[in-house]
Symmetry: C2
Subunit: 243 residues, 2 copies
């Protein structure tokens, strides 16, 4: 019986790891996860065993990690960003009752809403929502309803998975829903390849965002009614200056 660490790596580079994440990766015998994420950290631990599966084999990967920990070898299941936010902590915990005795530790990390937000300035400086536009695991009407409610609540919003090869028009459809309740002048932004080589960013209006062609390596930020563009940055004030 051993430890299973579910570790959020942040955007990828070593500088975004917390000390807690580094310790968990060190303690593990095996680094396990989606190929792209394991490749980000395995160079930090030369010679350490890895176990990778492609994007769509999450449940197999989780069961392998739980079995391996149960057999007595400490495992780190790595996730980009945070371990909990659209990460592997939930499926691991759902499967855990089948593997009694495994000691599961969830190690949080800097999710793209925060790392991407820091690149743009402070787009999530007040109440906010995080919504994924991927309809692989969530029905589109559920996503539409959440977009509508986020707009009606005047939340700042971080959108994950704004597009993919098969879902080229999701961002435009999302913007159309938001535009039912929000001004076309709403300050928005996006960041691509956060913290990686080729990082790009842009601050623009909601009307302009609707016309952008983005990819799955991009995180999108929609402002609230109070969000401002200040010298190239995107800022949602909390209102400290109004006291």
């Amino acid at each position: 019986m051993s430890e299973l660490y579910v570790v959020g790596l942040g955007p990828g580079g070593k500088e975004f790891l917390t000390g807690q994440a580094m310790t968990a990766l060190e303690k593990a015998d095996v680094l396990c996860g989606y190929t792209v994420y394991v490749d980000l950290v395995s160079p930090l631990f030369p010679g350490k065993e890895t176990y990778t599966t492609p994007m769509t084999r999450e449940i197999d990967r989780c069961r392998w990690a739980l079995e391996t920990a149960q057999s007595g070898r400490p495992v780190a299941m790595v996730c980009s960003g945070d371990a909990g936010v659209y990460g592997m902590a939930a499926p691991i915990l759902e499967l855990a009752p089948d593997y009694p005795g495994v000691d599961i530790e969830v190690v949080p990390g800097v999710t793209a809403a925060l790392s991407g937000g820091s690149v743009l300035g402070a787009p999530l400086g007040h109440d906010f929502c995080v919504i994924s536009l991927s309809d692989l695991l969530t029905s589109w009407p559920v996503i539409e309803n959440r977009l509508r409610c986020a707009a009606m609540g005047d939340f700042a919003v971080a959108l994950y998975n704004p597009a993919s090869r098969k879902r080229k028009d999701h961002l435009r459809r999302a913007c159309d829903i938001l535009l039912e309740h929000k001004s076309g002048d709403t300050v928005c932004g996006w960041v691509r390849n956060i913290g990686r080589e080729g990082q790009e960013k842009k601050v623009l209006t909601l009307s302009q965002l609707r016309e952008e062609e983005l990819d799955m390596f991009t995180t999108v930020f929609i402002g609230s009614s109070t969000t401002r563009q200040i010298g190239g940055t995107m800022v949602t004030p909390r209102g400290y200056d109004k006291k």
Copy 2:
């Protein structure tokens, strides 16, 4: 002219700092911030100058940091959790046009939604909102509307600042609004003193949460309709098992 780093510390202990945050703190001549947060990291840098102000003097503190950086000394403004989420990045960027030439770098950190979430399991495994119940800077009707929209969107929710000495009934009022749209059996949880001595947690129903007496050191999690309690953990599935 020098750098001003706005640094998210995570919940406080050294193990929650990212490498990027540690580097920024090292490079700074002065550590500046709310007294409690500066005290968390100043022991890591013995002898480094500190500048602290009480909770309600945020704008003075930001101006001091900008002036100091402008005079040529690198400064780190420290924030608990993330630098952007209810943090000092927004007011610093709002004031920045008055201090031309200061190079501002926002360093993200693990906000309480993520660190507290990892203690409970994976309460934010699907789309979620973060809402502060403090009405010091936000009017209560705005907060009420956001709670209502979060409930109508069936988001998981992290509530910051659920109570204070002056706002003892905010959590109960928030639960009453959520209960208009959500079942009393909705799985909820709270974590107190995240990552610090005396950390406590509890998983409970929304009806039970309404009766809790919590304080400002607590972060509260409200489940979506799919959130489950699994062996003492709180888990919001994304639905990998349904593929």
